[in-house]
Structures are given as C-alpha cells and as structure tokens.
Symmetry: C2
Subunit: 426 residues, 2 copies
Amino acid sequence: MFIIDLSISSHMIQRPRGTRDFGPEEMEVRRHHEGMMRREAVLHGFKEIATPIFEHTELFTLKSGPGVVEEIYAFQDKGGREICLRPELTASVMRFFVNDLATLPRPLKLFYFGQCFRYERPQAGRYREFFQFGAEIIGNPTPETDAEAIGLAAAILERTGLKDYRIRIGHIGILKEMLAAAGVSGDAALPILQKLDKKAYAEAEGLMAQAGVDARAAEEIISTTNIIGPVSVLGSREGPASDYIRQVCEMLLAMGFSNVSVDLGVVRGLAYYTGMVFEVDAPKLGAEKQICGGGSYSLSELFGGEKVFSTGFAIGFDRTLLALQTEGVEFVKPGVTAFVVPIGDSVRSKAFQMVSELRRAGIAADVDLMRRGIGKSLKYAATIPSRYAVIVGEKELQSDSVTLRDMRSGEQSLVPTEELVAVLRA
Amino acid sequence: MFIIDLSISSHMIQRPRGTRDFGPEEMEVRRHHEGMMRREAVLHGFKEIATPIFEHTELFTLKSGPGVVEEIYAFQDKGGREICLRPELTASVMRFFVNDLATLPRPLKLFYFGQCFRYERPQAGRYREFFQFGAEIIGNPTPETDAEAIGLAAAILERTGLKDYRIRIGHIGILKEMLAAAGVSGDAALPILQKLDKKAYAEAEGLMAQAGVDARAAEEIISTTNIIGPVSVLGSREGPASDYIRQVCEMLLAMGFSNVSVDLGVVRGLAYYTGMVFEVDAPKLGAEKQICGGGSYSLSELFGGEKVFSTGFAIGFDRTLLALQTEGVEFVKPGVTAFVVPIGDSVRSKAFQMVSELRRAGIAADVDLMRRGIGKSLKYAATIPSRYAVIVGEKELQSDSVTLRDMRSGEQSLVPTEELVAVLRA
C-alpha cells in the first residue's frame, strides 16, 4: 500500500525529448490519413499485420549491423534480455513471416502502421518516436510485383491529396553491372555503391581508384548516377537491370501512374536490396524531403528462414503530413451534430435520455455536464463545435417539443421530440 | 558501412516473451473493434488524443508509488534519463492536460487507444504488451459526468456484441463515511479500503481492530462490501455518497442502460479515486474477468497542475476480445471482391490496367504477381479469399470482354469490360 504524499510534487512533468503528444484536432487529421492509407491498402488486396513495439536487439543488428545499437533505444529487461524499441518494421515483419507465416499461400501482401523509435537529435521532421506506414509483398522477384508495391505507394500518396511529389525508380543492378564490368563485384562493390547513393563522388572516386577501376569507367559510373527522367532516359542501355526497369515502368503506366521517373542514382546503399529500389520526395520539405523509400530485397534467410524474395516500402507518416501541411491541405474541424442543453434540474434526466437516443440513431451528440446556464452552454457548444443546440425546457416538453438552434445562423425553431432524429439527419 | 555475413545467423529469432504478433485475420478483428470503439466515442462527443509510448518514469512513481518500477519496463536512455514504457494511459493524459490542454473549454472529453506495457509473468489474458481503450472527462464532479463516462463504457461494450457482462458501480465515500463514523478517517483508512476491495476480510478486520474500530461496526462495514444489486439495495441508506449513486443510476436509466448494478464492495483501493468507482466483468473469463474499470479522481495537481476533478475508465482491449471469442462471436474473413488472372504475358499489362481501374472505383481487387497458370491462380484466389475471379484472355479481349467466375458457385460468364465495375458493385 502506497499513500501519495501530495507535497512532493509541484513541478510539471514534461514529455520525453523528441516525442509528441497529439491533441484532438491533430489526432483527427492523423486518424483520417491513417484510415485512408489502410483503406487504400485493403483495396489493393493487402492485409494488415502488427508486431510488438519492442524486439530482441539482435533482430536489428543482424539486419543493419552492430553499429545500429548506437542509434536506437536498446536496453536490458529485468530478465537480462537485450531488447530495443523497434527502429523500423521490415525486420519485424520478416521475423514474423519466418516464425509463423512461411506456410501461407504466396504472394503474401502485408501492410502495417505503427510507431518506430530512433535515438537521434530531434529536428524539424525528425522525432525520436515517429510513425510509419509500410507494405511488403513476399513472393517472387517479378517486375509486376515491384510495380504493385510502387503502385500502392503512389495510390496512397494520390489519396492523401498531396500534389508536389515525385517517385524515382532505380535498380541496384545497373551500377553493379557497370562496376562488375570494371572489375569490382560482390561485397566489394557495396562501399562504393553507398557513396554513390549519397552522391559523395569524391569519396566514391577514391574507392573506385583503390579498387582498380579505370578513370573513364569511374567517370561513366558517376555520370550514370545523374541520369533521371522518363523511362526513355534508359535509351538503348542493355542488360537485365535496364530491361527489368522498363517492364516495371510499363506496368505502372498501364496502372495509370504517370508521375514516375527513372533515376539511376537511387541505390539505397544497404546490402540486402537485390534489385529495384525507389524513393519518393516531397521537394517542399527541403533537406528532409524523402517521404517514402523501398525496394526488392531478401532478408528472411538472415532470420533463420528460407531465402524468399520480397518487395516493400515504408512511408514516413509524419513527414507526409508535414508535406500536406506545407501545401496548405485543409481539414474540417471535428465536432458533433447536436449539443443538448437542459434548462434546469427538472429536465436533466430527459436531456440525457434524448442525447442517448440521438447517439443510438448514429448522430454524434453531446450534453451539458457542468450544470451551466444556457448562455455558457451555448458558448461551450460553439467551441466543440456543435452544428446544432437542442434546448430542452420544461414548457416546450409539455407539448413534446424542444428548441433547435442552428449554431451557425442563430436561428431557432420548435421541433417535436419524435422528429428530432429525422431533422438532424437531414 | 556494414557488410552482412550470412553465415552468422541460422537460428530463428523469436518475438520477446509476453508479446504477440497479429496475423491478417486477427488484425482484421482487432481493427474492426478498435474502429467501433472509436466511432462510439466520437458519437458521444469524445475526442481522440495520443501520447508517447514512453514517458519519464517519475510520472508513474508519482501516481502509483516507487514500487511500480518493479512491475514496468523502466530503463535509462543514452542521455541518462529515467524513462519507461507506459504501464497505463491516465497518467499520460493528465500530464498532457497539465502541460498543454488546461486552458481549453471544459469539460474536456478525451479518449485514446494504444499499447501499454507491464513486466509481469505472462499468463492467459495477461501480456507484457497489451492494448487499452480509455476515456477521461475533465471538468466537474457531477453525477451526470460519471453517468456519461459509465454510459460510454456501456455503449462500447453493447456495440462489440458482448452479451454476458455486468457493470458494477460503487462509491468510495460509502465505506469511507462508515470508517470515519467509526473513528478512522483520511489516509489512515486507505490500507483498510484496499483490503476490503480485495475482499481480504481477515486482514481488513485485523487493521480495523488495530485502528480501534469496534467489532460491530467492523462487521457492518464488511457486510456492506457484499451489498450488490439494483439501486434499491441502497434502501434508506443516507449520506452524500448514497445520494450520489442514486443520481448516477437515475441518469444511466434515463440513457437506457439497464445492465447496471450497485456494488458497495467496489473500492479500487487507490489513493487518487475521490468518489464513484466502477468495474465491468465478463464472468466467462474466470479469474481474469475484469474487462473495464474506472472512477472519478483527482490527479492533475500531482503533475504540477491545478486540482481538477475527472472521471475516466479503461477497457482492457485484449480481454474484451477474449470474452467475445469465449461467447463465440464470429467475424467475416477479410478478402477482396475480384482477383484478376491474366492468361499469358500478352495480356499482363491489360490485367494490371483493369485491376487498377477496379481499385480506383473503390472495389477491392488483386492480381496475379507470380505468373502462375489459371488453375494455380484460382486456387490462390480462393485462399485470399476473393469473391470473383476476372479471367483476362486474348480471345475475349478481342470482343472487349472478360470471363467473370463466381468463386462460390464456380459459374462463369462473359462480361463486357466496360460493365465490369457495375457488375462487381451489384
């Protein structure tokens, strides 16, 4: 038994640094967009899954290397287990797949929405607790699988109402094929690819020179990372990677997504990507402009499963909302349809009966809980906001009526109680 | 740069003990009920908020005492801050209120849905990561405020379809008034109240004897904790607490909630409850049968704010779902309306165009990504499940038609492409 000593606390407790509280209006916007993304995924035949907020730390060191521990919330639980708050969701989804879903018919088209956590310096658009929507198609490496994944990302962004964004599709194989032709293949190419992904050309050149790539080939490789435009920028370029991108783009065009560029500089510098890679930017966001990224990969064998090809992506939910805000996309302020005001104690029960009947009829309704007079109650009703006020008075009730007040125009009319639901629905 | 060594991992990584992954079908059920709860809250004029997954540990030691650290996921972040995964949400909501919402018009009617975490031995219906739906009304201590809170809990449980549950309402004042009359008041009564709440009568008697309560009064107090039934069980009992419960019950009856008992044994033994307390059981769940609990309280002054009366409750989402399962409440298996099967490579783009058109028309649709033959594709379509298959063949396309297969009856018919959306909507 613990008895609270009220004298010990008089300072405000703050939320942890880099996290956010979401108030009613912001939350309405967030749930609206979360719901839209979910509906779009379901329309596309994707199914939602969820995994725990924390995982064994090993899951992420296996995927991203031991260095990742520096950037995440990693700790020991009371049983001495090394656990951490998940920094992303693809690893968790693949763990779940390997543990429990590997025998389901393929392709498995999965999506998820939830919080992720990184211990990094908070700044505009970067939080320690942030939200991701993501999807994975676990099955086969076909161009149509990749088109289906990119198509879902595009359909979702279209649905949000965002105007200024661009989808850039690349293929890790194009630069890999060029490096291999220049004598650098396999894992040796990875550090170079990572520098190329970041457009750190001087460093990439240094690494290529070290690896024995001749200067002309190095120059051609670097200029390739700047090729961006419609699918025609591939020109007469040959090889499996170029052919693959052509097919992905053909499918996307058939699906009606025209806002797509080929960008041979997209590499995403992580060892587990196997082919197509793509990114989406919202240029208005400035330095932190990437709102979505993904590609085809192979991860399950890392977590003890068989090798399975997958394509997935994650949308940064917070940055997408920031981009929408930047574009001035507006939202309706949430509220209720009716606020019921009892005039005096004698009709209070009756008012509660009425508000309950409205709710059962599917009409969002609220009622005075503070025993305030009509003036203060109407003022409160305006802040919710409520579309109408239903004023319940003793005299009107004698003729089974209430006063309905239009909160916009201020007009009032007497409405028979039994017609109230129908009038408010109209 | 980290190069993954594939040889280091061949064991499966498990999810952390006491946590769960949710697969597609389970998730569909969970999102359905989460959505229902959210809609019901909005119908009642409550507004959603959200707070971070982790908080400063101090928030919970202030509310529940230093001992709580033993039961929660508490750790130091890289900056040396004492933080923890939230074990419940009321403290976070009141912190948010004190920090940012204290100037909003009252009453503030807030709700939330999210994960909470406790480090305890996992058992049936108890998880280390669990989900709560909750609501708080921040404003005034009036019987109608309490009725509004209990009414939302009741409306939500009604909406889930749960049949066998009971709402028990008590008032911490009734036993407090009796103890005060017997000479034990203020904080000295709290240990006794906690024992009474747990029906640990021998221990309660011992504490009362120690505190000088005479045997007859002690016996009457103990028998009071067993008073349960309709509001009439209050009989001619006088005092502010009894009068208050009568008013709460009158309001609930006016609102059409009849599944409500008065239970003078509900105390909830926590120092911050100030008046009405209530619990909801689903008896079919056995020992872990409580699915909801709440009451009126005063907490904000503990977190550095002014003293404000509030009433709130939390519904254990996982246990409520367990109770629904025990009652055999069934759910429709999720799926899509149409699965599009291209017969061969020449019509693949056309199939993707069609699936995209269906989705844009709001029809959930999927398409073959594995380049399988028609037999295997139809088999896969049945597992999703899809209501129809749309078979796209070269010959049929020449007359601008596709073959529509009813996946239940196996019947097939030729449908003009331009009529497909209308046919699938019918």
